[in-house]
């Protein structure tokens, strides 16, 4: 902190800005260094579990009637005939070459699967996150603004329902109501029948359709995403609305709000500036983690809406006991989770001047 004050004395704004960026980067670096051992530990855990638990993956991949030499060949291919530590070592070496191993479910490299399916999931989660943030902000702010009054009580009950009803129940309900009874939205898949999928450039079909200039396809994909994204977002939305509300109620009692009020700042400014920002800081952390957690709930929602994404791929490799696939799914989600974690910390450090600089 003293260091910071010294730097602040240098009257150039640029220097200060660079310092702030450097402090944040240093912070990010620290976080990355911390998370790497965790991810290695995670990979060791799931890797070992996948090799030692009962059930012969080679036999499963070959099928029940396959001759013995075929099973042996697959076993060799998966390196299951080697000692455990050697298997892990080679897996790690392959990983650094971008190879996650051979999938006995899709009969090709897991890396190819990840590249193929991940964008669809991220795209869905992105829309769900938009719903989540928008809904949580709206509900939370209304609730906090009218704390202990009717709107607050209504939001409170809604939030309880949102938290308690599992995402797969929302998914089925929406499918039943908005796709079957009132056919407003398509019930499953990514494209309507007869729609030509855009040529693959980024893997994100929304972006690809825009690149290809297929605006109809873009709308069609978006149309298919509404129900699953909404079903996915509701739980987190309810959770975050509650946290934003709690933050606001907490901030309302603070003396610093009394102070700006005492000095004649109009209510609207007080609310939008001096109450909202401090209330959102604690919510950002939870919101970020909730968005990352959507990856978990996406497993059920992608299954219900037959969304061709990474989570549905995850379920398929799990049901087929595809060991390389399972390890890859866990690891990829772990990495995404870690990135989300660090991003959230950066956003919070940006919003709250106390964080990051104190440690710097």
């Amino acid at each position: 902190m003293f260091k910071y004050i010294l730097v602040i004395n240098v009257k150039s704004k640029i220097v200060r800005c660079v310092f702030k960026m450097r402090a944040i980067w240093k912070y990010v670096g620290k976080r990355v260094l911390y998370v790497i051992p965790t991810l290695i530990g995670l990979s060791i855990f799931i890797f070992i579990l996948s090799r030692v638990l009962p059930g012969d993956p080679a036999l499963m991949a070959a099928g029940p009637n396959a001759p013995k030499w075929v099973v042996e060949q697959i076993r060799h291919q998966l390196r299951l005939d080697k000692p455990l530590w050697e298997q892990y070592y080679y897996w790690l070496v392959d990983l650094f070459h971008g190879d996650l191993g051979y999938s006995i479910y899709t009969k090709r490299s897991v890396t190819v699967d990840v590249v193929e399916y991940l964008p669809a999931s991220l795209q869905l989660i992105f829309l769900a996150a938009l719903f989540e943030i928008g809904g949580a902000l709206a509900l939370g702010i209304i609730s906090g603004r009218y704390a202990y009054k009717l709107p607050d009580n209504m939001v409170r009950v809604l939030a309880y329902i949102g938290i308690s009803v599992p995402s797969f129940v929302w998914g089925l309900l929406f499918q039943l109501i908005f796709a079957s009874l009132i056919p407003l939205f398509p019930s499953h898949g990514m494209y309507s029948y007869g729609t030509i999928s855009p040529p693959r450039v980024t893997g994100f079909s929304l972006i690809d359709s825009l690149i290809a200039g297929q605006f109809d396809t873009f709308v069609d994909i978006l149309w298919h995403m509404v129900l699953p994204a909404f079903a996915l977002s509701l739980g987190a939305m309810a959770q975050d609305a509650r946290i934003i509300r709690a933050g606001m109620v907490d901030t309302l009692q603070k003396d610093h709000v009394s102070l700006v009020r005492a000095y004649g700042i109009p209510e609207r400014t007080i609310f939008s500036k001096y109450i909202l920002k401090p209330s959102l800081v604690p919510a950002v952390t939870v919101m970020g983690m909730d968005i990352a957690s959507l990856l978990g709930n996406a497993f059920m929602v992608e299954m219900i809406f037959q969304w061709p994404g990474f989570s549905r791929y995850g379920i398929n490799v799990m049901l087929n006991k595809d060991i390389n696939g399972i390890v890859a799914v866990v690891l990829v989600i772990g990495i995404i989770f870690a990135i989300a974690n660090i991003l959230v910390d950066v956003v919070v450090a940006y919003l709250d001047p106390r964080i990051g600089r104190r440690s710097a």
Partner: protein, 291 residues
């Protein structure tokens, strides 16, 4: 000091009377209590309450398959002609058992590990425990639980084990935080100076301070564990048919949407009901302890 007196002392620190007063003031908490109690009663007395208890397991009656809700079958019947209401009532058993087994496994383990990690925060043992707990919260619990379940053979028991494996770190972290902050307090020093053993300090001096937080977390967790269990069986990696597990019933019935909506929708609502009950109850208890 005997175990019984330790327990009664822990009990006293909770000041339950005052807390009940706080709790009973909120209508939502009371609703939560009623819902939770109702599911517990239904689960315990399922064989006597369910109209067709034999429908819980293997049972086929294709003549009465896929009947819509009626007075005979309030929730209709499924594709094997089994009464959905009866199976739903039995389903509460599996959901509650899931929560009970997971929490009885997880809480003591997590608490002890957390106490050790917090108490020996500077030593390698504390750091190791926390690092290992980091691994298990590096991915959403559902993803890791699903993977572990799939690597084991899917079954209700394995689902419980997998969820337990994902859940202990939260208690460890809770106790770690409490312990690290209390460790420097004077009463802990005082105990140390008088020559109390580390175990005594951990369980008699530090743990009582975390009791309220742990109990609150347990009640809040019941809903989450049930949700996680239902999700596992919904995906097909938990309890297997014909177990009347609510998640399994929803996913089996989902094939018959939208025509035979009752097969999946009633169990789905039942899951929401039980989770809602325990969420309300947990929040009520939390408010009672904090307010």
């Amino acid at each position: 000091m005997s175990r019984a007196t330790i327990l009664s002392e822990w009990w006293k620190t909770l000041e339950l009377k005052k807390k009940w007063y706080n709790f009973s003031r909120s209508p939502l908490s009371l609703i939560g209590l009623i819902i939770s109690l109702s599911t517990i009663i239904l689960a315990i007395f399922a064989p006597w309450i369910a109209p067709y208890p034999e429908h819980a397991g293997f049972y086929t009656d294709f003549e009465h398959a896929n009947l819509p809700p009626s007075w005979q079958h309030l929730f209709g019947t499924d594709e094997f002609g089994r009464d959905v209401l009866s199976r739903t009532i039995f389903g509460f058993r599996y959901s509650l058992m899931m929560a009970a087994v997971v929490l009885t496994l997880v809480v003591p383990a997590g608490v002890i590990l957390g106490l050790i990690a917090g108490y020996y925060r500077e030593r390698w043992i504390g750091k190791l425990i926390m690092r290992i707990s980091d691994i298990f919260i590096a991915v959403p619990p559902l993803v890791l639980a699903l993977s572990v379940c799939s690597l084991l053979t899917p079954s209700a028991f394995h689902a419980m084990m997998a969820v337990s494996l994902m859940w202990w770190p939260w208690y460890t972290r809770l106790l770690y935080n409490v312990t690290s902050s209390i460790k420097e307090e004077y009463f802990v020093y005082a105990a140390k100076v008088t020559g109390a053993s580390s175990a005594h300090i951990m369980f008699k001096e530090i743990f009582p301070n975390a009791m309220g937080a742990v109990l609150t977390k347990i009640t809040l967790d019941v809903g989450w564990v049930i949700l996680l269990g239902a999700s596992l069986s919904f995906v097909g990696l938990g309890a297997q048919p014909p177990t009347p597990d609510l998640g399994t019933m929803v996913s089996d019935g989902a094939k018959f949407l939208p025509d035979y909506w009752w097969i999946s929708m009633f169990p789905a609502l039942a899951i929401s009901y039980i989770i809602l009950g325990f969420n309300l109850l947990g929040d009520g208890i939390k408010d009672a302890f904090e307010g």
